[in-house]
Amino acid sequence: MIDAVTLAVLKGRLEQIADEMDATLFRTAFNPIIAEAHDASHGLYHAETGETLVQGKSGLPIFVGAMSFAVKAVIDRFGPDAADGDVFIFNDPYDGGTHLSDFRLVRPFFRDGRVFCHLASVGHWHDVGGNVPGNYNPVATECFQEGMLIPPVRLYAKGELRQDVVDIILANSRLPGSAYGDLNGQINALDLGAKRLAELLDEYGDDTVAEAMLELRGRAAKLMRAHIASLPDGTYSAEDFLDNDGHTDAPLSIALDITIDGDRMVWDFSRSAPQCAGPVNIAYSTTVASCYVALKHIFPEVPANAGVLEPIRFRIPETSLLHARAPKPVGGYTETILRIIDVVFSAFAAIDPAITNANAYGTINAVSLAGHRQDGRRWVMFSFFGGGHGGNPAGDGLNHGNAPISTATIPPLEILEAAYPVMFTQWALRPDSGGQGRHRGGLGAVYEIELLEESADLFLFGERGRFPPQGVAGGEPGAANRFCYQQDGAWHTPPMASKMVGVRLNRGERIRLETPGGGGYGPPDQRDPAAAARDIALGYVTAETGE
């Protein structure tokens, strides 16, 4: 049996390999969604099951749970046919989760003629075709309108790059240069991971490292069971809603019933809405991955490996919006998984309010502005925007944070203005947007942008326009998302609250996005009067609402 010390040492060494792969891609990627927003991830996965063995600390949290499904898809399809030097590439969202923008590279890592484990890389590319530049198509009814769909195919065959595959993929992107750069970055990351892993195996021996990987999984399961056992038995429920599916303006329920029995849990999503016409469906693997993200926010020290999910059973009916299959559109998956994370927080508030926080802003607000410059060159400005975090046992929520599913930073507005024909007229905190409570929700933001070119098309994919982020333990909800745009001298709002496609803007017209604040924590009448007075003095809360 492996000793406790070697195990602790190898844990650190393996994590360092994944971290270094993350860092390599962040530095070499072309599109800001990877380079600045870190919408990418790397890890090591089991040779036969594809289960997560080790995941980097710096990658996008949501991929931590999803990647094992992607590796499994490659194993199922190619199994024994995979050869040393092969690298597989695909973006099929039903076979490995998330959406078409996320390209996955999976590389079987061979030792002595056998697969020792898999290395994998995933990154969000800038544009993968489809009807909408940047691929957030709020009115898609099939995945074919969202972009190209590449099933698992060989990018490298026994070490030889298949240029024909590369050509097919690049020909289907509006921004082939960006895609080419990101692809190279992901190849670099896998090369580096393979080199580092070989060095580690040479140093410690294959058997010792394999045993450590197995043992780490067991420890993670044990740790998770210990956490569950400390929670009171019973069934705890929470429900929240998506605004609509982009086609019919009707709410879609995301409902969760958690049953705790000793050191095991069942997470039952049966009461959630059935599959819908629009792109807020998600694949089963995406649902499981988002539950993992929520769990790791509540118990931050549980490790990033498959053992954590061992004591948890999921019930997600095949008809559910949370169990979509091809060709149901899934492009807006971020909105649905943010809602899942919110209901997990709300359910845990019923279990034990001392270990959870109120909902964060709960929508990524993908805004895309696209047009042509006077010399005919196409430009696409595509960005996600921030909002407030939930109040929590330790204090008020963070103002203008990133989404719980990501560690993304926002590009500087000066970089955006230098790259695209736009001018920001406001980039500010949004007063009164944090939910009141003993600990107030963090504030959302106000962004206002003016178009400097002749014309451009505007796309928006957001949520929380009708159902604001919930408070917990007696806290009040934050402010809802609000979006408006100028056309012909008047301000308009989208018919679906926060989703719209292809509205033409002219020079000098503006768009204005006001993002949600976080929910409050605890009853507002328990707020420290000094903190309430400070809120008003600093303008976080305006006098009318504060009194």
């Binding site: 010390v5 602790a8 860092a23 963070l398 203005e417 933001a445």
Partner: protein
């Protein structure tokens, strides 16, 4: 005038001690002094430290100071009440950061900006990204904003306008209007501090400068007053985060450049000591109570990073000696988690209550407790001088309860496990800055300084595959020594943000010449003699579309008011740098030039380290003070104990052995040999490699 100026003095003020290094250039001698730091008013300890060795301050030519005043003011949020004036619509940029959060996992983090929202005032003005002024600034509105801030108690003020990096006209006009009405000199404009694209980083750096200005200025004034009243007529210089020194005048204007002043001095000294000993490649390892700081010096040059966060959201963007910190210090707490995995840190017992063996109320085991139980630290003579002795039984109890019993190990085995896991974490930090950046550790020596580092040096050699470890003769005064030898350095940055093909080379050339001259003027004004002046130019570059850049040094010669820079030279320099960093170039993709960086370095006279070498003809036998049992590699050994400072040049000690001196303890692992080199450094290496 009294006696001739002969002394060059380095002063490093740390949390516990103020260290002073006195170099007598005429007599060719060195002295060191260590006095308690005076918390709250570091100036008192500073002057006491100097007076401990020099009676007549008139004999001092230069005092060079590494300070933590700015760092502490930021960490403890004890800067001045400072305001900022921004473009209308953007006063919250500094609070919104880059939309991040303190930790990846867990959503309970928060951020309190150092400039409160009611001290952030907006004025109507706007410059576009291409430098066009869309709305001119109205000086009357700026004056009104100043009145508002003054009425709210602001003592310092900064101005940050959007796109001021592209055209500073509005900002400069506002600064002029502001200076006319502001009652003191604490006015900072972003284009003067950081004329670089990225509004949050520029706003943060500029506003922190304002926040620090009154605090640093009053501190420097107290120092100058104290020195002057003692008859000091020389130059007072301050170490910057970039490892170079600056004048007090510059420090008044740019206090934010001292954010990492103290640690930078230590790295400078380490580089010099190692290079003098024949090792130009060194990894400095500073092990304190709560953290382990690593910095890399390759071919005698320190790695610089373009920015750092002093704390979450407190971003300072200016070239700084790159120091990587992990939470594994002597006070880091060891525990076994619910999954049965042994973890070290990041929670720390610090210095108060400190490790369990201090007997001051902490009963959880720390790395220091493990070193005590294993016999590596002398419990009867703790370093630092604050305690008489250490409580070995308490350390053993803490380890047995919290680590030994859960893992089924004896307390001694558990102590060794703690050390091994702590070593592996430190090794991880070293790998991070070496292997991950493409440096081969076999070519590097580790240089531990700080109280605890030398206990772990041998293990780090093995874990990371380092060549050797070098323990300087006086590790406790490394930073003060660094002050004495640091060069004077001034950095400039200028954003170009243009494709290489469309770059206005004449304008770039003019900017290179201008910044080189400006740096030189600052050096000339300092009144310090230099052995030479170096000017280095670097571009931040990438392929068009990438958002991260690589640093691209270009070799040009300044002659007749021109650099001779060409697009070809920039291109080939970029390709060399990109290939070195990532292996492969991208074909057919255009290249972008984001920033020009100019560094002007005045090389100060070097300190001959022979002055520190042991004198006299001691022997190894005479230096031995006894033996004691030490546990290593799963067994107890009877280890020889030596008084390190009594070991003569050429002495060779095989492990297991312990070398003691007042400010550190060196553990020579079994299989390792310690040798004393001609400068008095202890060089640790594998016995088979050091044996003749």
């Amino acid at each position: 005038m009294s006696a001739p100026s002969r002394h060059v003095i380095g002063v490093d003020v740390g949390g516990t001690f103020t260290d002073v290094f006195v170099y007598d250039e005429v007599g060719g001698t060195c002295q060191v002094a260590k006095v308690p730091s005076t918390r709250g008013d570091q100036a008192t300890g500073f002057l006491a430290g100097i007076r401990a060795r020099v009676d007549d301050l008139g004999t001092i030519a230069t005092v060079v100071h590494g300070t933590t005043v700015a760092t502490n003011a930021l960490l403890e949020r004890k800067g001045a009440r400072a305001g900022i004036i921004t473009t209308a619509g953007f006063r919250d940029v500094v609070e919104m950061r880059r939309r991040d959060r303190p930790t990846t996992w867990g959503l309970w983090g928060r951020f309190d900006p150092v400039i409160p929202r009611d001290l952030r005032v907006e004025v109507a003005e706007r410059t576009l990204a291409d430098g066009t002024v869309r709305t001119a600034v109205d000086p009357a509105e700026v004056r009104q904003a100043a009145e508002t801030l003054l009425a709210r108690g602001a003592e310092a003020v900064s101005i940050v306008f959007i796109n001021a990096y592209a055209n500073a006209a509005n900002e400069a006009a506002a600064a002029e209007a502001l200076r006319a009405v502001w009652p003191n000199a604490y006015v900072t404009a972003s284009h003067q501090i950081l004329p670089e694209i990225r509004e949050f980083e520029r706003t943060s750096t500029t506003s922190l400068n304002g926040y620090l200005q009154p605090v640093v200025a009053s501190y420097l004034a107290r120092l100058e007053q104290g020195l002057d009243s003692g008859g000091f007529g020389g130059e007072l210089l301050i170490v910057q985060s970039n490892g170079g020194v600056m004048t007090v005048e510059t420090a008044h204007q740019r206090p934010v450049h001292t954010a990492l002043s103290g640690p930078a001095a230590g790295v400078i000294a380490a580089a010099h000591i190692a290079a003098s000993a024949g090792y130009p490649n060194v990894l400095t390892c500073d092990m304190g109570g709560t953290s382990f700081d690593v910095s890399l010096v390759a071919e005698g040059r320190s790695a610089l990073s373009p920015e750092t966060s002093i704390d979450f959201g407190l971003v300072v963007r200016s070239p700084m000696i790159e120091i990587t910190t992990i939470g594994a210090g002597g006070g880091s707490i060891a525990r076994v988690d619910a999954g049965g995995l042994l973890q070290i840190g990041p929670e720390s017992a610090g210095s108060d209550p400190g490790p369990a063996c201090y007997g001051l109320g902490n009963d959880r085991p720390t790395v220091t407790d493990a070193n005590v139980v294993l016999g590596r630290i002398n419990a009867a003579r703790p370093i630092g001088g604050a305690l008489d002795h250490l409580d070995v039984a308490a350390a053993e109890r803490a380890i047995a309860t919290h680590v030994g019993e859960p893992l089924g190990l004896s307390s001694v085995e558990a102590a060794e496990a703690i050390i091994r896991v702590a070593n592996s974490r430190m090794a991880g930090a070293i790998r991070l800055v070496s292997i991950e950046r493409g440096h081969d550790p076999k070519r590097f020596v580790a240089m531990p300084f700080g109280g605890g580092g030398a206990l772990h040096a041998g293990a780090l050699i093995r874990e990371v595959g380092l060549a050797k470890a070098l323990v300087p003769r006086f590790p406790g005064v490394t930073s003060a020594l660094g002050c004495v030898i640091a060069d004077m350095r001034h950095d400039f940055v200028h954003t170009l943000n243009a494709p290489l093909d469309g770059l206005d080379l004449a304008a770039v050339d003019a900017e290179m010449v201008r910044t080189a001259a400006a740096g030189r003027a600052l050096l000339d004004r300092a009144g310090v003699g230099f052995d030479g002046i170096d000017t280095a130019f670097e571009f931040d570059m990438s392929y068009v579309g990438q958002s991260h850049t690589v640093a691209v040094p270009v070799e040009v010669t300044l002659a007749d008011g021109a650099t001779g820079i060409t697009a070809d030279l920039i291109r080939t320099s970029f390709e060399a740098a990109y290939r070195a960093a990532y292996g492969r170039l991208l074909s057919g993709v255009a290249i972008r030039v984001l920033n020009l960086r100019t560094a002007v370095i005045g090389r100060r006279r070097s300190l001959p380290l022979e002055l520190l070498a042991p004198t006299g003809a001691g022997t190894v036998d005479h230096a031995q003070t006894g033996t004691r049992p030490v546990y290593a590699d799963g067994a107890w050994h009877q280890a020889a104990v030596y008084a390190r400072l009594d070991l003569p040049v050429g002495a060779e000690v095989r492990g297991p052995a312990v070398l003691e001196q007042p400010d550190t303890t060196i553990f020579v692992d079994p299989g390792m040999t310690a040798m004393v080199d001609r400068l008095g450094n202890v060089v640790l290496g594998r016995t088979e490699e050091t044996a003749p």
